[in-house]
Amino acid sequence: MTVIGWLQIALFAAIVGVLTRPLGGYLARVYAGGRTPLRPLIAPVETALYRLAGINPQTEQSWYGYAISFLVFHAAGIIALYGLLRLQSVLPLNPQAMTAVAPDLALNTAVSFVTNTSWQSYGGETTLSYLSQMAGITVQSFLSAASGMAVAIALIRGFARRRTATIGNFWVDLTRGTLYVLLPICVVAALSLMADGVPQTLSAAAEVTTLEGGLQVIARGPVATQEAIKLLSGDGGGFFNANSAHPFENPTPLTNLAELVLIFALGAALTNCFGRMIGSERQGWILLCVMAMLFGLGVAGLYSLESGVNPALATINIDQTTSLQQPGGNMEGKEVRFGIAGSALFADVSTASSDGAVNSMHDSFLPLSGGILLANMMVDEVIVGAPGSGLYGMLLFCVVAVFLAGLMVGRTPEYVGKKIGSSEVKMTILALICIPAATLGLTAIACIAEPGLAGLGNPGSHGYTEILYAYTSAAATNGSAFAGLSTNSPFYNLTLALAMFVGRFLVIVPVLAVAGSLAAQPILPHSSGRLPTDRALFVCFLFGVIVIVGGLTYLPAVALGPIIENLQMLGGTLY
């Protein structure tokens, strides 16, 4: 570990911290329909879209109506993207003459991007036309992020409102999130990335003659625009197969830092937006504190493990010390441009945030580091998460925490003035149980089914971790890959699509039900019997609940993978 490495991590955390409050205030104004600097420019477009779609922005929906709108919109999105991928060979903007995507891969890809997962069983530059990348992948990255934020805002309204049957209008929230939040930030981010060397062109791949006289084909395309929303949306699907390890997606350490900030910015800001909308910014900071503690634990663990001595290499007398000539530690699968700190930070941010972009190969991390990446996803992506999903995941854990605290001390569970009754607890458990059920159930099937085992790149505990990671990533809508597992087969394409579907839609429906149930309640007056949720004690309690619930759910599964692999590595067995 180096001081510069820690400074990189601290600088990133400081930038996100500084951005949280202004961006949170902006989000609160946007979703309340208030005045913003961009309003004069965007409001006419917004109004025109409502007229075109026949939407009355003044009309609000019940939670059920909101949920059905959400489902219908995304069903249409999957069908549209599937059709685009199947027909890309006969559509324009296909200079590399890409053929139609296979049916099972097209379905997997469509579900992946509509659910904000971005699991990729394909290599972007060798599979998709420019039209598929721009009108398919990029568009769905915008819409899936905007719909995730809409769900979080609907849940916040549930906490903030009193005695009302409605939680907002899905179409209005979706439109505002896209036009006022995602588009303006992406325009600035894409231009900045282009200035740093990320290509943005509709020209075909460049063909160059190398110094040795050979012919090299260099893939390129409309990368910068996709890169910006890939990071901001928490989507993470790269234009290139190597994702943010590719120099055209992430050319410099500066772009690496900017990409990290883009991944975390909206998720962190939504905590402040929550605080503002319920009338207590302090409540938002409490949530961010818990996220920061979980994040800090992960990044410290990853950086120290990856920059430490690899015991397997120590036995054959390889010098692993950090010096001016070498970075030391475990550099396998990492970009020299980013080093261990830049790679460990990116891996932690990516798995904590539900983004899933990578700038190093997670398969090459040490076993316990792989366990940390799994743990980040297994706590339901509440460590900032994707825009929206991180906040509503964290609020579900708040419901569990106050419920448990209520059971322990004999008080009626309350959170920010709302009584947590049996309805809210039932819906919360329903939402929280979907992801582990999909992850563990499908992992078990893949571990015994012939087509599941056929995709393995490594035997033993490492191979098992590859399977566990794939389903964890899909169900948590993360999308990062451990690598090593060949998932472009009908079995993996369909089962991973199922995991993504469950992890997104079967979680969001009960979240909206909680929002509806809370909105119908009055806001209780403050009483001395209420568990204070704006104190350091609640930060520790919530942190403990998340760790214990995650641990109880997944520890046996993780023990069979990274933990056993680490013990085997210490005993000299490598995979």
Binding site: I78, S422, F501
Partner: protein, 38 residues
């Protein structure tokens, strides 16, 4: 043929998700405002 199967899968999954939403509404309706038993 495969396209029809894939699209049918999507429609079935979303129909199930809509039924799931109705189930949640039923659960909420069956216990409006009920306290958690402590």
């Amino acid at each position: 043929m495969f396209d029809v199967i894939m699209l049918a899968l999507v429609i079935v999954c979303f129909a199930l998700a809509a039924a799931y939403a109705s189930f949640c509404e039923h659960l909420l309706g069956s216990s409006p405002g009920k306290d958690v038993s402590l």
